[in-house]
């Protein structure tokens, strides 16, 4: 069609006309929820029961948007041991006005206390209100989806492989 003189012009008209007859792809957001891809980076949720106040996340954060306060508590000795000191979390806040959603805090957390949640509707009218405290972060934990199942024919994960190997070694013994 492009060979004939003016064929390109006709082709252009055909493309727009064909698009007009198809359903438009617009989703009307507030009425229709968007289909978010799995593991979308909406907001960072805190599973504070797992947090040991190790401060790794706050230190690794490239723009220092995580604020942590804590104090030490001494637990009375159980049985015959000496009394144990324990960190207690007083404040855990993330300033989402600074956060650049790199996810490093989630990567470095050794105790699985931080997770990505697909929740994204937390816009505010004041930039100062974008600093969200631990109760809000904890609430978002309920929106964290379960980990995605591996693909059907994918290689099993490293942990599964290691466990399987260990089991085989046990059989031989």
């Amino acid at each position: 069609m492009g060979r004939l003189p003016g064929g390109g012009l006709a082709k252009g008209l055909a493309v727009t006309l064909r698009t007009m007859t198809r359903r438009s792809i617009t989703r009307q957001y507030p009425e229709a929820e968007p289909d978010l891809p799995p593991r979308s980076r909406g907001v960072i949720a805190l599973f504070e029961e797992n947090c040991t106040v190790c401060m790794l996340c706050a230190r690794e954060c490239p723009d220092w948007c995580i604020y942590i306060d804590s104090h030490k508590e001494t637990l009375p000795a159980e049985g015959g041991g000496r009394p144990r000191a324990r960190n207690v979390l007083d404040r855990f806040a993330i300033d989402f006005a600074l956060c650049m959603y790199c996810g490093i805090c989630i990567e470095v957390c050794p105790f699985d206390a931080l997770f990505w949640s697909p929740e994204f509707e937390y816009a505010e009218y004041d930039i100062a209100e974008l600093t969200h405290e631990r109760d809000r972060l904890r609430e978002w934990m309920w929106t964290v989806p379960p980990p995605q199942a591996p693909d059907e024919h994918a290689e099993p994960s490293k942990e599964v492989l290691a466990a399987r190997k260990a089991a085989e070694r046990g059989d031989r013994r």
Partner: protein, 318 residues
Amino acid sequence: MLEVVGRLALVAAAFAVLPLLVGQAEHKVMAHMQGRLGPMYAGAFHGWAQLVADGVKFAQKEDVVPAAADRRIFKLAPAVALVPYLLVLLVIPVGPHGQVALDLGPGVFFALAVMGVGVIGAIMAGWASANKYSLLGGMRVTAQLMSYELPMVFSAASVAMAAGTLSLSGIVEQWRWYWLPWQLVGGAVFFVAGLAELRRPPFDMPVADSEIIFGPYTEYGGLRFALFLLAEYAGIVVLCGLTTVLFLGGWKGPFLDGPLGWLWTLVKVFALAFAVIWFRVSYPRLREDQLQRLAWAWLVPLSLAQLALTGVLKVALG
């Protein structure tokens, strides 16, 4: 007397409603051609009141005149751009037996001359704004008017010659179906040249918003800007009406071309308006030199050829 007032009221109503209908159609058609929905909220049903909302917004805006502007010309320009289209609408016949506000003998001549005045509004705006982008845009408008008025007049003259009259209703009376192939080239040239005169995409080099902001309209805001926009859509209606009357047989159709013939006129006008929107969505903007090349290297020779063809056939058959 009462009849004249009634006709004028009808024309005024058409002038107020038809451009808005075309504008709304442009919103929706363009959106769907691009896989979007377009306005959906204003008026609660598929955004039917979007242009009303836009009008309210424009009316609320401040009326700013730049300090260095030529105030009187600057303020007058939107009216000069808009009113000519209202005047042309007066002489466009919509149906048989005098369904026209003003049945002028030299209707073609009047319509083309007055349509040309509409362009002056843009030139005035470009000159009076005291802004280099506006001036550039104004100069481009002028150049475009110079080059596209010629093929437009030639192709209109071809129809007038074929009909043997300059009256718009007279032309439609004379129109026969075989004029469609006979005047095909002239019709295409007239429509394209008209688009260029209205500065509609793909001929919107004078307002090219990505390089000279918005050409002659750069300094305008509020109601005056809205008037320029209205003039653009009124221009579409007028151009489609003229093309319908001159080349598509006006109120004539395969059936129902009695007193209800104005329905045919409306259908044809809206089909052409759809084409105007369709071209806007499909084609990228022509560069200034391509614009001039299209006019002088293609449209002028084509319209002259059409004129020759019309003359030869007229003499041979008549």
